[in-house]
Amino acid sequence: MTEVTPDNEARGGAPPPSSPPPASPPDNGWRKEYWSRNLRLMVILLAIWFIVSFGFGVLLVEPLNNIVIAGFPLGFWFAQQGSIYVFVILILVYAKMMDRLDSQFGVDEPETEGAAK
């Protein structure tokens, strides 16, 4: 943890996670960067979460109900259908984006022993 070695076979040979050394690593830069990018992603996704559910489904439901699509008043549709679809997509996007972030920063987990079972 204290230094990043330019390892050639990092993928297969990554050691299993163990408790980190007690001393704080000297290069804290990547940690700050990783964490702030994680927080940024989180804030964006939570903003969408709030706008779709509480915005479209509760606060703006009455004006949106003036638009009717396939028999559904739009506000009603967001409150009972659309928001749920968006929630599912948000979690999938989060999981995919975090996969990318983890591997960019080299903190993704070795999958080998779990997948073997």
Partner: protein, 559 residues
């Protein structure tokens, strides 16, 4: 025995045989230990197990019925019980998985102090217990209808079966049993919904086709003196819709029996994808529920409107035996329908029967009715098993072992856990027979308490290193007390008087305010007292990164 009773017994018997077989199989295979089992479970199966664990009798039996009568405002349950998974996936599950112990009281115990652990264990027991009551009631309604008992007898039968099941099969192999239960409950929910959608609109996708009947439903509702189905805020004021939805969402993210499931995934990445699969499986039922509510309500109203009281459809008499459907005294022709006995309507239909009765109301064949009953029981049992495990582990591990007898043996702790479970079942029978409200509402109270106690201290514990034990203890206690006091103030539970709502806030919505109180108290008290020790900060720092950092070569993007 009628056709319906016969088919019900066949489906319930067959599904129980499958659950018991799985429980027995996994026990044989699993000598290595209790928690290790979880590590080998694929993410998608874990997601299905979370979905079964979490979708209770309230989701399966009550929710569509509530939506039928609430109309547009039924969205509080639809959004509230799904949106929380976004919070869980983004704010809680991956971090608690990285930290890697087994109960919520254990996390707050390590993060804060023993004192906070004890408060959390007590809160976990109260919340899970409130929630179990809803399951007993739901299971009781199923047995009452299909065994020809009254609701009291049905609740007792359901409680005995759920209790036995949790003690015997619940300890091991619970995940695979829940996968089977998810399969039973989703099939049982979707088949009648698809059949009704096809029958009424010619489009077999309920999510799409219930748009076709909304105009017709609004028209007949207006004719019978009910609110229009698509009108927002007919049942609750806007502020209350907002607060109840928020309370259910943050309550979902703070429920101990849900959080505990993410420890069984094999990695932090697995926890994220488990949350995705769980919500995906939940959404299958949740997007169907409003369609079931709308179709059933239209069928119901069309079937009874203007019909003379002695020529009502067969389902009315079938369900009248349970006492959950009543025709008003001296009524000759049905011209009004309600879900409230106090309304004085010609026909009173309890919310909790609509899903179970929907195949009968739509005139579907007996096997489908039996299948729905088996699905309702699967929903109640899978949730009750998870809840009873939380009650028993919080009591034996976090209270008895930590507080009463530190040198207790495994056998003593197991016994303490079983006694706690048994007591919970007994009290739940009493509360299930005399419920303070409808099943979904009973459950909503559990969410309010979880929102006001766990969610703030868990989130602050992960995202704010400065948060300390004194703050967390003060926040949890004030949040819980505030929320519980308002619930007791506004509801005629425990023999207290029901007072009017303050500022249009219902007891289901107060959890949101309780959570804000908890956040504020925790932050203010933490700021005023000493920061937590360095090793705690180190622990918080470490749960933020999924694993040790290893080398990354520039330009080499791993799959």
């Amino acid at each position: 025995m009628t056709d319906i009773q016969l088919w019900t017994l066949i489906f319930i018997g067959a599904s129980f045989a499958v659950y018991l077989y799985i429980a027995w199989r996994s026990r044989v295979k699993e000598t290595a230990g209790f928690y290790v089992a979880g590590q080998g479970i694929p993410t998608i199966a874990n997601g299905a197990a979370v979905a079964a664990d979490w979708m209770s009798a309230a989701s399966f039996i009550s929710m569509a019925g509530l939506i039928a009568f609430l109309g547009s405002d039924g969205s509080i349950y639809l959004m509230g019980w799904t949106g929380g998974y976004v919070l869980l996936a983004l704010l809680i599950a991956p971090y608690l998985r990285k930290w890697g112990k087994f109960t919520v009281p254990e996390f707050v115990g390590d993060r804060y102090s023993e004192m906070v652990r004890t408060i959390a264990a007590v809160a976990a027991i109260i919340i899970s217990f409130t929630y179990v009551v809803g399951q007993m009631r739901g299971g009781g309604i199923v047995f009452s209808r299909f065994l020809g008992l009254d609701v009291t007898g049905g609740v007792i039968v359901a409680a005995v079966i759920i209790g036995l099941y949790a003690v015997l099969g619940g300890m091991k192999g619970i995940t695979w049993t829940q996968v089977a239960q998810y399969t039973v409950l989703i099939v049982a929910y979707l088949i009648p919904a698809v059949a009704v959608a096809q029958q009424m609109t010619g489009i077999p996708i309920p999510q799409v086709s219930f748009g076709q009947i909304l105009d017709e439903l609004n028209a007949i509702s207006a004719q019978m003196g009910l609110a229009q189905f698509t009108d927002a805020f007919a049942a609750r004021p806007q502020i209350d819709v907002f607060l109840v939805t928020m309370s259910l969402m943050i309550g979902t993210a703070g429920l101990p029996h849900v959080i505990v499931r993410f420890y069984t995934t094999k990695s932090v990445r697995g926890a994220r994808y488990s949350a995705f699969w769980a919500l995906f499986f939940i959404a299958l039922l949740y997007t169907t529920a409003p369609a079931v509510g709308a179709f059933t309500k239209l069928n119901l109203l069309q079937g009874v409107n203007g019909v003379s009281a002695d020529a009502l459809p067969a389902w009315v008499n079938n369900w009248a035996a349970t006492g959950l459907v009543t025709v008003g005294d001296g009524v000759t022709t049905i011209s009004s329908v309600s879900n409230s006995p106090a309304s004085g309507a010609d026909l009173v239909v309890n919310n909790d029967i609509l899903v179970l009765a929907s195949p009968e109301i739509a005139g579907l064949p007996a096997p489908i009715v039996g299948l729905v009953a088996a699905g309702g029981l699967a929903a109640a049992m899978s949730t009750a098993a998870g809840l009873l495990l939380v009650i028993s582990s919080s009591f034996s591990h976090d209270l008895y072992f930590r507080r009463v007898k530190r040198d207790s043996t495994d056998a003593q702790r197991l016994l303490a856990g079983r006694i706690a479970m048994g007591l919970a079942v007994l009290i739940a029978i009493y509360a299930g027979i005399n419920p303070p409200a409808f099943v979904a509402q009973v459950v909503a109270f559990a969410f309010g308490l979880a929102a006001a106690s766990f969610f703030p201290v868990i989130v602050l514990g992960i995202f704010w290193k400065r948060c300390n034990a004194t703050g967390a203890a003060a926040g949890m206690i004030t949040g819980m007390l505030f929320t519980a006091s308002y619930m007791i103030y506004t509801l005629p539970v425990f023999g207290t008087e029901a007072n009017p709502h303050i500022l249009d806030i219902s007891p289901e919505g107060i959890g949101t305010i309780g959570a804000i109180v908890n956040f504020v108290v925790t932050i203010v008290v933490s700021k005023m007292t000493a920061p937590p020790p360095a090793e705690i900060s180190e622990m918080v720092e470490n749960i933020r990164y999924p694993s040790e950092r290893r080398a990354v070569t520039a330009g080499n993007t791993p799959a």
